[in-house]
Subunit: 252 residues, 2 copies
């Protein structure tokens, strides 16, 4: 949550692009579920310039490669999955034992791989080019993604959930962990990007959908999603809706 009256001192500063959900959203969801006090720096007045200055600041001992990064006291932490492992451990959103912690990290990295492939459906050639300049390649990549890759990733998480007899609708054990929050975001994003294809895909992944629904109803997440802190999906981020890419898959 943004710091406000009556809240304890700000614990965290999140640095991410101010107009998109992108990778930063995976961190925001963890901060919100934890009830942590944070400032979403680049969304504050002058904040984006501050972020760019920090990225170039020669005095930072551990410079991040790119946003998002998190300032936690003296620590600067970059890479979404690393930030989440850190927050998860600190705020009870990760298993306490080593095997569980490694499993959470592994699942999160697979979610990040999935996210990268979602991004690449609309930008298969270069992030620095407009979509319109790589539309034909995007059409081919999106078709392959929808036919092979999305079912493979979604089927994987469905299997993981099926094997967790203890705690459905959770990926790990009996409690919510940070990969659950990220899987929620993947489902929400895919519904925006590929509404028709996703509707078909979800029929085969009821457990994944159940994780999404459960997370959406967590009180802090529900409050967050209905607040102005949740940036709406738009066509500038990782999750973009181009109707022609959703239509490349004709089969049922």
């Amino acid at each position: 949550m943004l710091a406000g009256k009556g809240r304890k001192a700000v614990q965290y500063e999140l640095y991410y692009w101010p107009t998109i959900q992108g990778r930063g959203e995976f961190v925001r969801l963890a901060l919100e579920e934890a009830g942590a006090s944070y400032v979403d720096v680049a969304r504050e007045s002058g904040g984006e310039s501050a972020m760019m200055r920090l990225l170039k600041d020669e005095r930072i001992e551990h410079p991040p490669f790119a946003p998002p990064f998190l300032k936690a006291g003296d620590l600067f932490i970059g890479q979404t999955a690393t930030i989440l492992a850190f927050l998860g451990e600190r705020h009870g959103l990760a298993p306490a034992d080593t095997a569980g912690r490694l499993w959470a990290e592994q699942l999160q990295l697979t979610i990040m791989d999935f996210l990268q492939e979602i991004h690449d459906t609309h930008h298969p050639i270069a992030s620095g080019l407009y979509y319109e300049d790589q539309r034909e390649a995007a059409r081919r990549r999106a078709a392959d993604f929808l036919k092979f890759r999305a079912p493979k990733f979604m089927g994987y998480f469905e299997r993981v959930l099926a094997r967790n007899a203890v705690g459905k609708p959770h990926l790990i054990g009996a409690d919510l962990t940070y990969p659950d929050l990220s899987l929620f975001q993947i489902v929400a994003g895919l519904r925006y990007v590929f509404p028709k294809s996703m509707a078909r895909l979800e029929k085969h992944c009821p457990r994944v959908v159940a994780v999404h629904d459960h997370v959406a109803q967590r009180p802090r997440i529900a409050a967050y999603l209905s607040s102005s802190r949740r940036i709406p999906f738009n066509n500038e981020g990782i999750f973009r809706h181009y109707q022609e890419l959703d239509l490349t898959q004709q089969s049922n």
Copy 2:
């Protein structure tokens, strides 16, 4: 090292495609530097079938999404970066303090992002298609990679090394850590993939090259590299050499 006469009991089983370096090589390098006893299962007789059976085995509580994965006692660990964090901590190839450990994980994930982009230069549309079926897209993606992305990543690691006054030629502190081993592999791989472009790029990244050279001379790594355990680079893995992709960058 492969288990042999006079060696202690096998500690680890590595599962990865038997004919390529790929992501598995990053794990092999850590195992070799640690002097750990391991079996490279898929390279043994019948091992690849055993790997495929494990990937589908319903009894595995924490199923990996894809190779590489490591069996360590009762633990099954997938995702290269997670395996390396685990091995790094166990074998003194990672910083012992939290800030250092997070920094190593962050650097490793950035190396993995770099690796994915190297892969995508020859397969920008689909991993399941032949290179020849995506050659034109590959030409565009490789040109963008060589012009923008490779210099950005290499420049980043050069800056990180410049800021580590304590321990050149190391990314972190005074000692070798697992991201150094991975950065070695990136340099070795890029020299194979883009020999001409890489020769130009290295002029701007002397510290990165120094890490490569230092790692190559570590006694255990040097022994490994000259052994039959090191699979030669070839055009089936992540690092592939297609001359026409190296020639897309004309400027000096």
